[in-house]
Symmetry: C2
Amino acid sequence: MEGFGEHLREVRERRRAVDNSFSVRQLAARVGVEPSYLSKVERGQQPPPSEKTIAALASELDEDPDVLLALAGKVSGDLQSIIRRRPKLFADLIRQLKDMPDHAVLRLVREVRDGEW
Amino acid sequence: MEGFGEHLREVRERRRAVDNSFSVRQLAARVGVEPSYLSKVERGQQPPPSEKTIAALASELDEDPDVLLALAGKVSGDLQSIIRRRPKLFADLIRQLKDMPDHAVLRLVREVRDGEW
DNA sequence: GGTAGTGTGTAGTATATAGTACACGCATGG
DNA sequence: CCATGCGTGTACTATATACTACACACTACC
């Protein structure tokens, strides 16, 4: 599995190839952290940053925040609070979907979205 | 909303009414924490304990761990890791279910469980 | 009246989280 | 040659998390 830092570096470098403003320093400034910190995170010398910082990174890099959070070993706070409001309901559902293939879960997502029920 | 400590105290006292081994001291011993700590948690003087300790409490008190964790403002680690494995999929699904009524979500749970698809 | 068990107050601690501050050496362009 | 920007190394810090250790006062029993 690819780590958070590794992925971050790849994505940033890719952006940087066409836009110099994606240097460690400038990105760090926009995201609101020290360059050295971001550098260490990218090289896995520091654990992934907070949810807030990850969200800012996702926004700057045009990445999916949930995916980035997942790579960081986290689940976004808003998802957690949805679950916490009805813990039994969501716990059951999620555990039951644990081993379902992607396409099955995806079908469920679509069904709910399209209101077919 | 009822707090974690409040709920814990109520449940424990209820058990204690028919079984003296549910004193703060004895329960704390079985759960593996100091009595004074448990006491403070019950009175809200300390924030809720770790997931591990909450799980032990749930087991001793015969309570649903997910519900107890929810009252503590947490979501169980195993649910989180299920979500992290397929972040986009689960994030979409959960956010879409956010405002659905209980019975609708419940129907979904049953559908999945009974394999009607 | 001592012993066992109870709840709780005070003080302290170990570890993790989430970073900052600053300096260094390299490279590139004017 | 020097100013600008770059990535990174070292050292430090503030806050939160999750508790422990011990003592105290009270009650109940025999």
